[in-house]
């Protein structure tokens, strides 16, 4: 009962933070420098790991599909299978999970330490709302950068699949036919679908991580606990949201 209450409480405080941050949208142009900095952290520095991971996810997808589909002569459909899975599901979810682990944890750690060492209090007394200075640029940066990461993940995953399809002996599908099948069975809506999902996940992850960071109380030990909690909550939310967004977009 008490736990349920605390879940609702954090849900409410997250929404409140969102509304607060939203009310300062007009100040975004002035916070350009902070926005760029966050874009750099959320987007640019996350790119390498996103690229590496999506390449191998695409490869493994092609490999597994080739292995299981060779039995009934559907190998030529690997392109569409990898394409659709990457664009609609794995690309967005993988980007969101990496974001939670790499960016979300950093956000929570930073905000939690600012809170614990009273920097947040200092901001409040200076009449600089943390929602405006600390949360809004991060949310905006997430909105701007996550789709970029997702589309890169999609494309890198597709190429990973194409390379495996060509060079693995028991698959041996030329990239031309791989991409022809991919194109034939996909419309841009599938990719857009994935981008919307990634966008939602990224936004929620950053928002939740900001909220958990700003609500940290105590000392260094609590900072660590807050980071763990932020990542766990983010991962759960990603997968729960994934179901509902997928269903809503169908």
């Amino acid at each position: 009962m008490k736990q349920l209450l605390s879940i609702f409480e954090s849900f409410g405080s997250t929404l409140e933070l969102l509304v607060r941050a939203g009310s300062y949208v007009g100040t975004l142009p002035r916070q350009r420098a902070r926005f760029i900095e966050q874009c750099y952290l959320i987007g640019y520095t996350t790119l390498p790991i996103v690229a590496i991971l999506s390449f191998f996810i695409g490869s493994v997808l092609a490999l597994q599909a080739g292995y299981s589909m060779q039995n009934f002569g559907a190998k030529q459909f690997i392109g569409s299978l990898v394409g659709l899975s990457m664009a609609r599901e794995l690309g967005p979810v993988m980007v969101a999970i990496l974001l939670a682990g790499r960016v979300g944890s950093a956000i929570t750690a930073e905000l939690a330490s600012m809170k614990v060492y009273q920097e947040v209090d200092a901001l409040v007394t200076m009449n600089i709302p943390p929602a405006r200075m600390l949360v809004l640029p991060r949310l905006a940066a997430a909105l701007a950068m996550v789709p970029v990461l997702a589309i890169i993940a999609d494309l890198v995953g597709w190429f990973g699949g194409a390379i495996v399809a060509k060079y693995v002996a028991f698959i041996s599908i030329e990239p031309e036919s791989y991409f022809a099948v991919l194109r034939r069975y996909m419309v841009f809506k599938d990719v857009l679908n994935g981008l919307i999902k990634a966008e939602s996940f990224g936004f929620v992850v950053v928002l939740v991580c900001c909220n958990i960071g700003l609500n940290t109380r105590g000392g260094p030990r609590e900072i660590g606990a807050a980071v763990t909690r932020a990542v766990v909550v983010s991962l759960i939310l990603i997968l729960v949201l994934d179901y509902f967004i997928t269903k809503a977009l169908m």
Binding site: G43, L47, M145, V148, L149, L155, D190, V191, L195
Partner: protein
């Protein structure tokens, strides 16, 4: 400065994202970014089958646009075609849904129409025609096979008979066999008479001296004459028959002077060629599909039957009998 470098990287990164999104969009949706480029036409169909948005519109095989939208309009399905560039579609051009592959890739094929016809105005409707889809073709192929089987069966019946009614070959056979016996008898008689005549040369004077015998001789000569006339009539008959057989040398169709049967055979062969052409075209998946079909087996057995019938024409008795008659007479 660190800051401007960061800004540049973020900017570059964002532009990269936009570019990749655009490229993906272009590739997957046939580039509807240029929404204002070109113009649209409406093509109404009973069914769009497997056509989907982003499929090509090709005029005489050349891509001229994409299917921009598919929608249901009242009692029919409509495809909105975006014709890119300034390609003019003549107003009498006909659009149809064409299959590019067996696994469901379709495009809208537009024929060239006629020269000198005013082009379709943007937003107007293009004429359409229904093309059979893969299912229809398979069904048709099945029907064709059945027809073929029927035709080959009829052909076999007309050649060999079906038990109750004698076939063409039987008739021919019987005709020649019966006449041959008569010819043989007549020939034997004729030979006997001539032999008697030859042998009677010695006794002919006796016969001439003897008036009674003379009368008898005259009567005998009259008899010979009659017989000779009879023989000539028969030989004319045989000649006529032989001429007909002789003109029948060459293609199988004309060998059989029954014109209807020949036409039947011709049509059947034409059908056969059509089918085999289709089979040849359908090499691959279709070939496999047909491999498993009993249709193919039955077609083969029918062909084998036809083969056998033709073999029968070559070395069965009747022809030989006619040959013997012809040789022994001339």
């Amino acid at each position: 400065m660190q800051n401007s470098q960061q800004t540049a990287r973020v900017g570059l990164f964002f532009i990269l994202g936009l570019a990749l999104t655009w490229v993906t969009f272009e590739t997957l949706s046939g580039g509807r970014v240029f929404k204002n480029k070109g113009y649209t036409l409406i093509a109404g169909f009973e069914s769009l089958k497997e056509l989907k948005e982003g499929d090509d519109v090709r005029m005489a095989g050349v891509k001229v646009g994409v299917v921009e939208k598919t929608r249901l309009a009242g009692r029919r399905a409509e495809a909105i075609l975006r014709i890119e560039g300034d390609t003019k579609i003549p107003s009498d051009a006909t659009a149809s849904i064409v299959m590019a592959g067996l696994i469901g890739t379709n495009y809208i094929g537009v024929d060239l129409g006629s020269a000198g016809v005013p082009p379709l105005a943007p937003g107007s409707e293009i004429r359409t025609k229904v093309t059979p889809d893969i299912n229809a073709i398979m069904t048709e192929l099945g029907n064709l096979g059945q027809k073929l089987e029927g035709a080959l069966g009829a052909f076999g019946n007309s050649m060999n008979g079906d038990g109750r009614n004698p076939g063409l070959f039987q008739k021919l056979d019987r005709l020649v066999t019966e006449n041959g016996e008569r010819v043989n008898t007549t020939m034997t008689n004729l030979q006997e008479i001539t032999t008697k005549l030859n042998r009677g040369e010695g006794t002919l004077g006796k016969l001439v001296n003897d008036p009674a015998l003379h009368d008898e001789l005259v009567a005998a000569v009259g008899e010979i004459k009659t017989t000779a006339t009879q023989a000539r009539v028969f030989v004319t008959d045989a000649q006529g028959l032989l001429a007909q057989v002789k003109t029948g040398k060459g293609p199988l169709g004309t060998l059989v002077y029954d014109e209807a049967a020949a036409n039947d055979l011709k049509a059947t062969v034409a059908n056969l060629r059509q089918v085999s052409d289709k089979l040849a075209k359908g090499e691959g998946t279709l070939g496999k599909l047909i491999n498993d079909d009993s249709l193919f087996t039955s077609a083969q057995s029918t062909l084998r039957k036809a083969d056998r019938a033709i073999d029968g024409l070559d070395d069965s008795g009747p022809i030989t009998a006619v040959g013997i008659v012809a040789k022994s007479l001339f």
